[in-house]
């Protein structure tokens, strides 16, 4: 399959969608709406490929004799029970599918990320050092914002929340605006390279 075909497609569709922003014409709108629909459906297939890869991985691991195999059975059981309950039993409130979502998936996912509070606390003591002037400024601002954003800060003294608010709305906002413009220029440059066929890394060398 010649490399030329994907590159031609990228340029055609990329230019079409780019020019459609500037030239509005009736028949263009129709084609534009269709292309958006196609992209949504094709993208869905890429997500399914990821899911099937995971299923294949755990199927392979479940056959191995090691004690890890048990955990792959757990994953496979999770996948196929959710799939079965969802497609057969429906997903309305009160269905088994929504019960598992509310009482297994959400609590597990929420607890997994709540571990971060513990990791932040232990890193605060063992990891975060004012090893340079810049790091010192970072920690001071962090402390000020943390105090300013909770009621206790207000109790300690009136100006802490005001200063925290001022920092967020002016110096921090200005630095973030600089970063945004930098990232914006970078993504426009990358998108231009992709549309004009100069960038090929996404196709693999």
């Amino acid at each position: 399959m010649p490399l030329r075909l994907p590159l031609i497609l990228v340029s055609c569709f990329g230019l079409f969608m780019l020019l459609q922003f500037f030239w509005q014409a009736t028949f263009l709108d129709q084609a534009y709406g269709e292309v958006l629909d196609w992209v949504q459906i094709i993208y869905l297939f890429t997500l399914w490929v990821g899911a099937v890869h995971l299923i294949k991985l755990h199927l392979k691991k479940s056959q191995q004799k090691k004690k890890e195999a048990f955990y792959s059975w757990v994953t496979l059981a999770g996948i196929f029970s959710m799939l079965g309950f969802g497609l057969i039993g429906g997903k309305e409130q009160g269905s088994l599918f929504s019960w598992i979502f509310d009482n297994v998936q959400v609590p597990l996912q929420a607890t997994m990320f709540s571990l971060l509070a513990f990791f932040v606390a232990s890193a605060a003591y063992r990891g975060f050092r004012a090893r340079s002037r810049e790091a010192l400024v970072l920690l001071l601002v962090a402390g000020l914002v943390m105090l300013g954003r909770v009621p206790i800060g207000n109790l300690i003294s009136e100006w802490i929340p005001d200063l925290a608010n001022w920092i967020l709305n002016f110096p921090s906002m200005a630095a973030r605006r600089g970063i945004l413009i930098g990232i914006g220029l970078g993504s426009v440059a990358t998108a231009l390279r992709i549309i004009f066929g100069v960038e090929r890394t996404y196709l693999g060398r």
């Binding site: 992209v39 994953t75 999770g78 969802g86 932040v120 914002v145």
Partner: protein
């Protein structure tokens, strides 16, 4: 203390056991989560996207243009077959091309031009506000914005005036990262507060 909250509470404690050390309970809970989330995604994407967008238009209403995305989608599935995967590049090219095409004007307008326009303010204070504070705030914005852009300037050595100006940019960056650090700690603690409120409140019922 009903069945549903007990199941959720036990799984919560399984995950917390990782804090002691990586152990079978944690591995079980984590692998269950991976499995259930993939199963959940497949149901939502089939029931809420595939059926209304593909199978019904094709089977019920025979509207044939839907065949195009279906075939393009099928080409993506060739990634699962070892020898054929470069056929998927045709469909990937379409998604990447369209993504790049719509991103350029949107990024240019919303992330660059509008942000520039918002920085082109007058230094004359609006009536009724203190001129000194207004002028100080405007200069902080201009200094912060331009010094951060100087920091991310790679065509000239950071020496002389450019060196010190980009050093100023470093300190503005530290202020932004400090604020982000503080807010991130706030976020992480809120997640733990939510779980403790669930365990002590909804499960054991200690909190009124």
């Amino acid at each position: 203390m009903d069945l549903s909250t007990t199941v959720a509470a036990i799984l919560t404690l399984f995950i917390f056991s990782f804090l002691y050390r990586d152990n079978p309970f944690y591995k079980f809970a984590e692998h269950l989560l991976v499995g259930v989330s993939v199963g959940y995604f497949l149901v939502i994407s089939i029931d809420n996207v595939l059926i209304p967008k593909l199978s019904e238009p094709l089977l019920k209403r025979q509207d044939w243009p839907v065949l195009v995305p279906l075939v393009a989608g099928a080409l993506i599935l060739t990634r699962l077959v070892p020898g054929w995967s470069n056929w998927s590049q045709v469909s990937l090219a379409l998604v990447i091309g369209v993504g790049a095409g719509v991103a350029i004007p949107a990024t240019l307008q919303a992330q660059i031009l509008t942000q520039m326009k918002a920085s082109m303010f007058s230094l004359e204070a609006p009536p009724g506000s203190s001129a000194a504070l207004y002028l100080f705030e405007r200069s902080v914005i201009l200094l912060g914005l331009t010094s951060v852009l100087a920091y991310f300037f790679f065509s000239k050595e950071h020496k002389g005036w450019l060196g010190s100006y980009s050093k100023l940019g470093t300190y503005f960056l530290m202020i932004f990262f400090g604020a982000t650090f503080g807010y991130t700690v706030m976020s992480r603690l809120s997640l733990l507060i939510g779980r403790v409120q669930f365990l002590l409140g909804d499960w054991i019922g200690l909190l009124n």
